[in-house]
């Protein structure tokens, strides 16, 4: 008598594997939901930069910083949970949210939110990928041969950076409306520098390529603003020199 077509134990085993996978996904969804909420709230707070003059930023940041801290706490929860499983198996579920969390961090530090770092950061400072990792206390850019656990990938950092560029090009316009032409000029220089950086990369036809292609519009937007200002002689003398030196420093 031939053995049965399908070993009965096989079905049970496959079913329990799928069920386990479902449980993991559900738990992960819960954490990602929380993170989404934290990130959206922080983003909302940060959107006030468009209507807040720069000298009032510090009082805005006193609100932003607790929100960033909460966001970081949820990320470490996510990190602990996701590290138990192959990273790239579930990464797609939260990579977008994670990017936006990083966007918040990069944007607020660039604008000069002072805390989290033992050495207070000066405005206009861009956190590198490694710095983002140490702020969030998670590893970055894990590769073959390294442990398979939660980390921030290069792609996530770059995509977050492109979000920052978009947001800053919007801020350039609004800062002029608020009478802060110096900030618009500074942003224009920063975006141009990053644009030059992105042009160094060899990209394939993927999401990163698509987003990088959009940077040129942000550059154009910022340059148009600077053009409008210079046409009307509205650029403070010091910023003109910086703009030409193409290397933007603050104070």
């Amino acid at each position: 008598m031939a053995p049965p077509m399908i070993d009965p134990a096989l079905f049970d085993q496959l079913r329990s594997n799928i069920e386990q996978d479902t449980t993991v996904r559900k738990e992960l969804d819960q954490i990602v939901d929380d993170l989404n909420q934290d990130v959206a709230f922080t983003q909302g707070l940060l959107s006030r930069i468009h209507s807040t003059p720069r000298f009032k930023y510090q009082s805005l940041f006193t609100q932003v910083e607790p929100a960033l801290t909460k966001q970081t706490a949820t990320i470490s929860k996510l990190s602990n949970f996701a590290s138990q499983y192959p990273y790239y198996k579930y990464n797609h579920k939260y990579t977008r949210t994670l990017q936006e969390a990083i966007t918040n961090l990069l944007l607020s530090t660039w604008l000069g939110a002072p805390s989290f770092s033992p050495t207070p950061l000066t405005p206009g400072h861009l956190l590198t990928l490694d710095a983002v990792g140490s702020h969030l206390q998670v590893p970055v850019n894990l590769k073959s041969g390294q442990e398979d656990k939660f980390h921030i990938t290069i792609e996530e950092y770059l995509l977050a950076l492109i979000n920052v560029i978009d947001e800053l090009s919007r801020l350039a316009m609004n800062s002029v409306t608020l009478g802060d032409t110096a900030l618009a000029v500074q942003i224009s220089g920063f975006i141009k520098d990053l644009h030059a950086g992105f042009q160094v990369l060899n990209l394939k036809n993927d999401i990163l390529r698509k987003r990088v292609d959009s940077i040129k519009y942000a550059v154009k937007k910022a340059e148009d603003i600077v053009y409008d200002l210079s046409l009307r002689n509205l650029i403070p003398k010091k910023e003109v020199a910086e703009e030409e030196g193409h290397d933007v420093k603050t104070e």
Partner: protein
């Protein structure tokens, strides 16, 4: 750029001031600023990733092609039996040897963290699972378990690795001991299940051809033996009862639907055979399994 201005001797004229002029693209890209070193590092990392993916995609395409050839070869079998006809077995073996070499090249690229990173470029593993489960079914009339399949693929990878190492004469000494340490390709549960989904299609094709050619549906007709119809029913219920796989639900439903259709086609075959099979004079079509290429030629003439 349309051209440049010349001086009265015909030499290129140096542009003065440079302001307002359009800078050539290369010059713009080479702008150095405080972020340049960071982007240079990132470029190296991204290039490494893209190159690896490229290599994986190429290997995957080749493995898929070879697996498909194995499946076509197996479709020339007419009867389920523990030993495949010799010419078919040798053809399958030679394809498997080729696959094993490719797997050995693939294995180091998809270890650890990279296994799931490049999972989308690894559709070849589904195809391989389909070919191997089909071969197993034709020999034993059972469904191979994921563990056994994985062992087989691991073994295949290591054989390929060992063969490659033996070609490389400088390092033959240590390699026999190290064979167990060579990285192996492992199949995920998804690779296995999607392979089995496709297996139902192959079983349907096998049942159809063998019924058309021999009227036996490829089975020994002794009483108490299972038929392909029963096996298909069992596989059908198996997939209906399994919870839907979480990866790509759309693909899962599509494959499930194809499986349902295959089951229905085989049902129809079973019905036809029960009704009309008895009208066929027994043995009017010879068993074609051993005949080889000549028979293929005759089929085409009909």
């Amino acid at each position: 750029m349309s051209g440049y201005k010349r001086d009265w001797k015909g030499n290129e004229k140096k542009r003065e001031g440079g302001g307002g002029g359009y800078k050539p693209a290369t010059q713009r890209i080479l702008v150095q600023n405080e972020y340049t070193p960071m982007f240079d590092n990132i470029r190296a990392e991204l290039d490494e990733h893209h190159d690896r993916r490229e290599r994986i995609v190429k290997l995957s395409r080749d493995i898929t092609a070879l697996s498909k050839k194995i499946i076509f070869t197996l479709q020339r079998v007419r009867k389920i039996s523990p030993n495949l006809p010799k010419h078919i077995q040798s053809e399958v073996d030679s394809r498997l040897t080729e696959i094993s070499k490719l797997l050995a090249l693939l294995a180091p690229e998809i270890q650890g963290i990279n296994r799931h990173r490049y999972a989308r470029s690894l559709s070849c593993l589904e195809e391989l699972a389909e070919a191997l489960t089909f071969a197993h079914y034709l020999k034993t009339q059972t469904l191979i378990s994921p563990q056994d399949l994985n062992l087989f693929v691991e073994d295949l990878t290591r054989k390929g690795g060992a063969a490659a190492a033996q070609d490389d004469t400088t390092m033959t000494d240590d390699n026999n001991n190290n064979t167990q340490l060579l990285p192996a390709v492992d199949l995920t549960q998804e690779d296995y299940l999607y392979g089995v989904f496709d297996l139902t299609g192959e079983m349907m094709r096998f049942a159809t051809t063998s019924t058309a050619l021999s009227g036996t549906m490829g089975m020994a007709s002794a009483a108490g033996e299972r038929t392909i119809v029963e096996d298909m029913h069992e596989l059908g219920s198996f997939f209906e009862m399994l919870p839907v796989g979480n990866g790509n639900k759309f693909q899962w439903y599509k494959k499930l639907d194809v499986t349902r259709q295959s089951v229905k086609k085989v049902e129809r075959l079973g019905y036809d055979r029960t009704i009309r099979g008895s009208e066929r004079p027994a043995g009017w079509v010879p068993d074609l399994s051993g005949a080889g290429d000549m028979v293929e030629g005759e089929e085409r003439e009909d």
